[in-house]
Structure formats: C-alpha cells, structure tokens
C-alpha cells in the first residue's frame, strides 16, 4: 500500500488542478468578472453547472392548452368506436358525425334500425355523453340518435386535459435530465419556468447590440467619427445608426456609406454578411420619420440571424422545443380513389379538371405514378398538388366554395417532400397534399415503445415504433384490407411518409425523418423517441407569453446564507485542527477537496444547483467529516491499545473503510432510488447526494491516506499527531 506514493501524489495533484479548473468557469458565470479568467480556461472547460430558479431566477413561460381540441379528439375517438361497435356487434353500417364540441350524431341506414342501439353498443359513449332527442335538427324518428355531453363532463374533460398535458410535459423534462424547472397549472394554462434562461427578446437584443458594436467599429475604422447607435422601439433586434457629419461638411448619407463599405458583402439586396459583424444584418427601408434624416439608418438582425441566436441559446431552447411538441402520431389510409360527389373523379383530379387551380396561385399539379399491388388494389392516376409553402395549399383549400368542399370522411393533409426542381441543383423542400381518410386508422396512443435505429440500407437514423396489442390489431386490419394502398404517417400535423402496404403488417413500423435546419437527423430522431415515449400531449400547447423572472430567494438572503455557511465551515475547520492537530489539516484538505470535486462533477454533468441540491452538499460535507472522524477515531483506538503508529494507521484505515463503505452505500441506495423514481427537486437532491457520496469516499479514505503513508515512509516514524 505504501508504494507508488509519488505517482499517487502526482495523480492527486493533477486531479485537484483539474477540479479547480472545471469549477472556475461556473463560479465566474455566477459572479461575473469577480475572478478574471484567462481564455484558455474558459475555452477548454465549457461545461458549467448553473443556479436553479430559486437562486437566480429564469424564464417564465405560459402555454395555453387547446382544451377544446382535446375534447374534440376524444369525441372523434368515441365516434370511431361506435361505428366499429355497430359493425361488429349489429352488422350495421352507421355513420357517426361530430358536431361542435359536445355532440355526436349517429345516422342509421333506416329509422327502424334505431332500435338496435342497445346499451351494449352505446356503452362506450355513455360514459361521456347523454342520449338526447333534440327539438331542432334530425330526431330519432328520422333515424338519427343524438348524443350530447353534459356541461359538467365537458368541464371535467377540460381539466383532465390540462392535467394530462402537465404530466406529459413533466415526463419529457425529466427525460431530458437535470434542468429542474418549475411546472404548474394555471387555469387553462401551463406555466413552465426554466432556470437561467433569458427570454427571446433579451437574447435578440443582446445579439443586436453586439452586431451594432461591430458595425460602429467598422465605421470608425473607415474614418467616420462617433457614429451613434440607438435601440429601435418595438423590435429588440433592430437599431438605428446615426453618422454625424463633420463640422462644416454636408450631412452624410448613412445608407450610401454602409452600402459602399460593405459593397461586396451585401447579399440578396440588403443583407450584410461580414465576419467583422457578429450577426447578419438587414438594412431596413427608411420609414416616414427617417426619410428626412439621411444620416441615420435602421438595421435589424436578419431572420437567419434571429434563428441562429435562439439555436445557440443552448440546451434549454431544445428542451423548450421538446416541451412544445405535441407529438401526435396517427396513421391514416391514403384515399386517391373515392370519387368526389357526382364528378366521378377523385377530389384533386376533379378540382384540377374543374379549373379550380389557376396560374399564379403558386400551386403545381402533378400526376403521380400509379401504385398498387397485384394481390390487392391498384390505384391509377393519383394526383397531388405541390407548393413552396404549406400555407399556400391551406389557403387554397380553405377558399373553395361549399360545393367544392370535401365530405366529412375525407381530408387533405400536407407533408414536406424534397424535390429536385432543377437538374444538378440542391434538392428543395416543398409541401404536397395527401388525400386521406379523416379518421385515423391507428393513433399514437397505442405506441408501446420507440427507438432509434439506422436504416439498414442507408444507415440514416430512423425511428422504429412498436405498437401495443390494440394498435397492432387495428394496424393488421387496416393493412390487411388495403394491400396496395398507401398509409400516411402523420406526426404533428404533417405527413412524414406514405408507404404502400405490401402485405398485412403488425405491430412494428418505422418513421423516417428528414433533416431540419439546425438539427441533425440523429438529434431529431432522439428527440422524437423521447417525445413518443412520454406520450403525446392531449392538445396543442400555444405559447402565450414569456417573461424573465428574478430569483425566489432574494440575492440578499442567498448572500447571507452563503456567509453563514462559510462561517459554519470555518468553525468546523478550526475545530478539526484543534481536535486532531496535524491530522486535522489532512481532514480539512479532504473536506475542501470534497467540495471542489462535487462542484466539478456538477459542472461536468451541467447540473442545476438549487436549495435542495445544496442540502445534498451539506449532508455530504457532514459525511465527509464523518469519514475522517471514523478513520481517526479508529487510529486512536489502536494507538491507545499500544500498537505502533504505522500499524495503527494501516489497521485504522482498513477497518474504517468497511464501516464507511457500508454507511455510504446504504445512503447511496436511498439516493439511487430517489433519482430513479423521484422527479424535479427530489432528483436534484439525489444527484448531489450521489456525487457527494462518491467523492467523500474517495477523499475521506484514499486521499487522506496518502498523507499518512508519506509520513509512515519516513525512517523512524513512530508518532503521529492525531
């Protein structure tokens, strides 16, 4: 044990240096400029822990939950179940239509069939809805049953959907790790608070300020004196530059000056792309106020620059994207065959041949190749409309007069596809239409698991999805009856792919993803699996507003708390020095090293430090002291019994080690369980506790021993100051 001491000491010294260097950037970020750090530290040690909401505040976001959408979805689900129920139990084809938020109408083939609506088929609906016979509209005598949701049920359902959205968001946040946000409901909204994050406006403003500084520097270098910058009200990403004329000279045309200075850096008419300026800037057209003042010009961050600012803002932005994602997955049967009304042609073909699509709409009509399967159906002459923007297609269909609107059982969906518009050019993303059955064949609720797997041919990551039993049965039925037809896989309102059913398929299928700007396919696939696993949101989340909020604990009370902690620690150190004399130094060293190591590990994991986290640290400090006390008391015991110093140290450490290990492992068990099952603040506590246990065993047993072994290696060593 007393060999390789120098090597061990060197390793320990290296570790100390590494830990201190890892912690420094985080401390610097907490108290900016308190310790000026050389660039090589900040560049090489980028991982930081940060303070939680209670200690430094963060971003407060409010999302409204589209509760009515959730209610509608629930009703659609019931409608599908009713239709299936009548088909299987009564062998009757009924149509169930939803009206508004609270009504379903079951239309029977003939009024006599109303009698078949016994509780065993209606049962699925009667939990939510009441059978009514309304005074207006079709009545039961006409072969229509009306089911309506009572108001209390409606309110319940709405409240439930807020609760479900909350749970989903929380599990997504937990899947992302250690962010420790606050999440709570508020009326029909969700509040999400993320630590340490600025709001969009602040981030954009900061970027604009940087760019403005760069621009004035360039102007000054070109000999213009004292150009001034000024924020523009209403847009945090815009600023006004004024270049004053030199005395006695005519006013300067700022716009012309900038155009000239950046002549070869201006792209697309008025966007400046220059390395000397941190972000892309767009020259804005002068408004009424500026028209009379040629020496001023307004510049704003370009759209690209704004997007880049938010992408750079770190992991939490990505977290936000994941939170906001609805992750509604559904599979719809593609229907390119059903004739539209009395035209005898499918809808899109009818629209095209009916002259509804004209030039100048920005819509291209394509006749696609036939598809199908010998064993099943063959679809001839499918049509699709293409446009550069999804909104072009949406507004086209919305603007159709009633006689050209689709019946309720069909719908037009949209999806992005990449198309080679020009030979040899980069493929371009355009949107196309898909004609599908409005009601989903299989929904994401039946997803059992999802994982990322590479495509066997291209090695591009894709998401493989496994359905549960219900979903698998539905999928089998859907694919079995429709071999040769296509199925549209719809994720968050956009068709991702539309494979042809080659045969009856069961529980497994894959979703292929395209790259989106700012995110690799792998990242997109990883995020999607997390989201699919945590379940879809019951309804869309719409961000209502975001503000930055200060810390829960006043800066004052944090400072006082920190001071108090320092005094307490000082007292402990003093006590250890008095009580254990020279060995006390060793213990104090171990104690301090332990704290640095905990913080270094937290920085490495980019963990968030909150008050509960600090509780974990206090506990581990207690345990670190404890480890030393156990060892030292053992050594004293052996010394009292008359062993030599060397023997006492050896045996003391060995015997104490099992004690410490047992005590720490038992505590670690609690920590692991809390980390596994707890969420939010409990998890934060568990993280610091587990880190602390590992470091305190290391410092308390291994590091301190090194000091004693050094002493013991001295010739004639027979006394130890303990």
């Amino acid at each position: 044990m007393r060999r390789f001491l120098k090597l061990k000491a060197a390793a320990l010294a290296l570790l100390v240096v590494w830990a201190v260097l890892t912690v420094l950037p985080s401390l610097n970020a907490i108290a900016p400029d308190s310790i000026p750090l050389p660039a090589w530290i900040t560049e090489n040690f980028q991982n930081k822990f940060q303070l939680g909401l209670d200690l430094q505040g963060g971003l407060h976001l409010e999302y409204s939950v589209a509760v009515d959408e959730a209610v509608q979805k629930k009703l659609d689900q019931v409608a599908a179940e009713l239709e299936a129920g009548f088909r299987t139990k009564k062998d009757l084809e009924v149509t169930v239509a939803r009206e508004g938020n609270d009504t379903l109408r079951i239309t029977f083939p003939s009024p006599d069939d109303v009698a078949t609506a016994t509780p065993d088929v209606l049962g699925v609906a009667l939990d939510l809805l009441e059978r009514v016979d309304p005074d207006t509209g079709p009545r039961e005598a006409d072969g229509v049953i009306t089911l309506r949701m009572p108001e209390a049920k409606l309110a319940d359902l709405r409240r439930e959907s807020v609760g479900a959205a909350l749970d989903t968001v929380r599990s997504r946040v937990d899947a992302m790790g250690v962010a420790e946000p606050n999440i709570y409901p508020k009326n029909r909204q969700l509040v999400v608070e993320l630590p340490g994050l600025s709001d969009t406006a602040t981030e954009v403003r900061a970027a604009a300020k940087d760019a403005a500084r760069g621009l004035t520097e360039v102007l000054q270098a070109a000999g213009y004196t004292l150009p001034t910058e000024q924020e523009v009200r209403g847009d945090p990403g815009a600023f006004k530059i004024t270049i004053p004329a030199k005395t006695g000279e005519p006013a300067i045309d700022a716009r012309a000056v900038i155009r000239e200075l950046f002549a070869d850096k201006i792209v697309e008419g008025d966007t400046i792309v220059d390395d000397r300026i941190t972000s892309e800037l767009t020259l804005l057209e002068p408004d009424a106020e500026l028209a009379n003042d040629p020496s001023s010009v307004v510049l704003a961050l370009s759209e690209n620059a704004r997007a880049a600012v938010l992408d750079d803002a770190g992991d939490f932005r990505r977290l936000l994207k994941i939170i906001e994602r609805q992750a509604v997955l559904s599979m719809h049967l593609v229907d390119d065959e059903t004739p539209f009304r009395d035209t005898g042609k499918p809808y899109l073909k009818a629209l095209y041949e009916g002259g509804r699509v004209t030039k100048g709409m920005g819509i291209a009509v394509n006749r696609l190749t036939d598809y199908g399967k010998e064993a099943g159906v063959t679809v001839k002459e499918p049509f699709a409309f293409y446009a550069k923007e999804r909104s072009t297609l949406e507004s086209f269909f919305r603007s159709q007069p009633p006689e050209w609107r689709l019946p309720g059982d069909l719908a037009v969906f949209y999806g992005p596809v990449s198309v080679n518009t020009k030979r040899g050019a980069e493929p371009e993303i355009v949107w196309r239409t898909y004609m599908v059955k409005a009601r989903a064949g299989v929904t994401g609720e039946d997803v059992m698991s999802a994982s990322v797997q590479p495509d066997p041919q291209t090695q591009v990551p894709q998401v493989s999805v496994k359905l549960n039993r219900i979903g698998a049965r539905q999928m089998e039925e859907l694919s079995g009856n429709n071999v040769g037809r296509r199925m549209a896989i719809v994720l968050d309102d956009a068709v991702r792919s539309d494979p042809v059913f080659n045969e009856r398929i069961g529980e497994n299928f894959v979703i292929t993803l395209g790259a989106t700007p700012g995110q690799s396919v792998r990242e997109a696939a990883n995020d999607l699996t997390k989201v699919l696993k945590s379940g879809s949101l019951p309804a869309r989340l719409e961000k209502e507003f975001e503000i930055r909020v200060g810390a829960d604990l006043g800066a004052d009370s944090v400072v006082r708390g920190a001071k108090a902690f320092a005094y307490g620690l000082g007292a402990v150190i003093l006590f250890m020095l008095i009580y254990y004399r020279a060995s006390g130094f060793v213990a104090v060293f171990a104690l301090l090293l332990n704290m640095v190591l905990i913080l270094a590990a937290m920085a490495l994991f980019k963990a968030t430090l909150t008050l509960p986290g600090i509780a974990g640290i206090v506990l581990t400090i207690g345990m670190a002291v404890d480890a030393n006390v156990i060892v030292f008391e053992r050594i004293r015991d052996y010394l009292r019994e008359g062993h030599t110093a060397r023997a006492a140290i050896e045996s003391g450490y060995d015997r104490a080690f099992t004690t410490i290990l047992d005590a720490q492992l038992t505590t670690a068990i609690a920590g692991i369980v809390l980390f596994q099952y707890g969420s939010g603040p409990i998890r934060g506590f568990a993280v610091t506790l587990l880190i602390g246990i590992a470091t305190s065993i290391f410092t308390g047993v291994l590091c301190t021993r090194l000091f004693f072994d050094f002493q013991a290696n001295r010739r004639g060593f027979d006394r130890v100051s303990i």
Binding site: K186, S557, D662, L665, V673, Q676, Y677
Partner: protein, 490 residues
Amino acid sequence: MADTKPHKFFEIIKPGTTIKFVENRWRFISVSIVLILISALSLVYNQVTTGSPLNMGIDFAGGSQVQLAFSEGADVDVEKVRVALEELGYEGSSAVEVPDRGNEILVRIKETVSIEESTLVACKAAVERVGEAKLLEFNHPEEASKIFLRFDAEPNYREVGRLLAGAGCVGSADKGNTGGTAIGPDGQPLAETFPVEIALVGIGAKVREDLESKLGAGTIDHIERAETVGSKVGSQLQTDGIKSLLFAIGFIFLYVMFRFDLRFAPGGIVALLHDAFLVIGAFALTGKEFNLQTIAAVLTVVGYSINDTIVVFDRVRERVSLHRDAPIEETTNSALNDTLSRTLLTSLTTLVVVFATYLLGSGPIKDFSFALIVGLLVGTYSSLYIATPVFLWVNRRFYAGQGHLLLAKAEEREGTGTLLGNVDDGNRGGAVDAEGLEGEAPAGDADEAGDAAEVGERDAAAAESEALAGARKTSRRRRRRRPEGEGESE
C-alpha cells in the same frame, strides 16, 4: 528509536467512558414516544382546525400569482415587497422581480379567489345576451381566477365586463384564447364562436390595497395580471415521492439484511422513520410552512439518520462477533460507548454548519436549517436510543437462541452458535460470525477458551509490530488468523 510514551489526544469523550445506554433505554424511548405523540397530536390538531395537517406552502397547495406594476419613480424594490408581505401576514408568499420590465414584481401568495355559486348564477344570467351576441357557454372552473365565456357573435368586451361587475363578478373582459380552432369533422373550421375570458380581479385588488397601506398609496400603478395557479407538486410528483420513499426503505432493509444481519434491519428503518416523522412533527407543531425545500430537508435527515445508524451498527456487529459469550446487552452498550465520540463529533460539526445558517440566514434558508437542526438532533439520538433497542428487541423476541434466520441451515452445517452470547445450548458450539455472508467461515473451534478474542487481538497486534516491513494486513485478515469462534461457556 521507538518512543514508548503513549500518544496523547485531545478528547471529548474519555476512553473507558461507560454510559448505560441500553440499561436506560426505556427512559429515552418514552421520551421518543412522547415526542411522537406530540407530533401526531399537532398533525391531528392542525387537520381539525385548519383542514390540513401541515401548513402547506404554495408549492403544494397552489395559490395566486399577481403581477404588479409599480408607479414610475416609486422607490420600491423586491426586498421591501417581501418584507411588507411578511408583515401583512401573507405567509409563504414570495416576490420575484421581472427584470425586463423594471418596475414590475411578481407576487405569489397562498390565498385564492372564491366566488359563491349564487353569484355565478347571477353573473351568468347577466350576460345571457350582450347586444347581438348570445351566450353559448359559461364556464368557471373551480377555484380558477377566470371565467370562460363563449358567444355566437363578437360582443362588446367592455359591456360584458360592466354587466358581470354589476352581478358581482368584478374583472376585466378580454378576447379569449380560442382553445384551438374548433375543427369540424371535415377538417374545416367550424362556424366561428367568440370566446371571452374574464380575469377576475379579486385577490389582486386585495394584495394591491394591502401593499399600498404598507408602501404608501399610489405606489402601485396597476395590476398587470392576477391569476390562480395550481400546485407545483402535482399528484404525479406526490405519488412518485411516496413510491420512492417506500422503495428506498425496502432496498435499505435488504442491504442491511444481507450485509449485516436481518435483525439489524428493522432498527435502522424504525430510526429513519422516527427521525423523518419527528421533523415533520416539528413543522406541524411550529406551524412553519411545509414546502419543496422542507421535503429536501426531510430527505437529508433520512440520509443522515441511516448513515449514522449504520456506523453504530457496524461497531455493534464487530463487538458482538468479538465477544460472543458476553451478554449482548453489554457488548452493544460498550459498542455504543466506543462510537460515542465519533457520533458526537460528527453531529456537532454538522450542527455547527447548520446552526450558523439558521442564525444568520433568512427566509426559506432559515426554515430549511430549522428542519436540519431538528433532524440532526433526533438523528443522532435515535441511533443510540431507538435503532439499537429495536435491534436488541428483535434479537430477543424473534431470535432467542435461533441464530440467523437466513443462515440457519448453513450454521447447522458449520456448527456455529448464535449472536445471543449467553444462551447455553449444549449442542451448538461456536458462534455466528456476523460477517458470515462475506464468506469468512468462522473457525468454529469449540474448545477454545472464552476470552480468546482478547488474547487473539493482542497476539495479532504483537505479531504486527514485529512485521512492520510494510506487508499489508487488514484487520479482517487479522481476525481470520486469530483463533476465533470460542465456545459457549458460562
């Protein structure tokens, strides 16, 4: 050059101190029982008087969130608002700045708005028709600070607000969020309806009035928003928390059972629960607010308690395996005395840190330290007076003369005895090594003299001082070499 002078130490507890922990256990157990009763009574009393066993903070109970805009030039900072709120008796309130809007402060309080059912009915009747617009829906979720209305045509919002105020629902009416465009079954938007949201002023106005009475009239320019918020700790988080606590207890039990002995496990768990319960009881008794930070404190206490108990048990285990023939009460008592100085030192040093934060800290930090102080005190005490007596009781009650439950078969083969030193069972020589599970088969030599352990210890030590060359010998190895497993003698 061996220095033969004995080492001198600075000691708090002199070696040889013998406090009769085990003998006096009932006095202390009765103190514990009294404390537990007080805790339980406080919980029940609070439940009866306030409807909640603990003074639940906004984290658990939800509350209201009021965003106040202060007048330009009003000299108000968030610290002043905090102090004012505290003085006004808004317990558990918090105030945070909104840094981008210089003079706005977000206040969170536990109080919520409540509206009588009859008022709601009157309000609904008041807005059945607003001009041309007909009311389609009137929805006030329980305890919410908003009323959600839906009209079939766009109403005059001011008129809606005026009509409602007249009926007793004072608030500002605004265009509501559509809650998602109502999409018909054909995928097309349905005929438009016009949602209106009424943000009830209720609690906001009260907070404003109260704060202005402290900070001066006119300091608050307007109420930006005042809304009810739900609890941060959703039902999910609560079940997760309880589940994790139960799992933790279960796994600790298993660990102690396999690593030590089954009869140690209940003592550790009882001490842990005892400590956690007394901390919660202290919160019930003092009426301090129970929030997420308190949960963290309770978890800390649980961690500390089990850690402390295990160290004590470790020494008991060692002592018992060394002195198998002595009455277990005595060996346990001397083990407690052995570790006493360590127990006190550790508790004292940790207490010093926590006590400093309690004295100098403020607000939530103070409450947090309070929980830790209580927890450390009872945690230290419970290792001595709760965990150990429970261990002794389990040993006597369930194990008298039977050896280790799990190892009963193996013991028979090995011919070992029992942890209960003085139970004479002629057929069973030897003793159970408490560490039997580590695979250290006790020698089980039944013919050895009773005090062999002591002798063995000395011998080993002597051997060691001779062989100082640096060869590593663990104490465990020493014990293995030592003549072990002395027989059962009276």
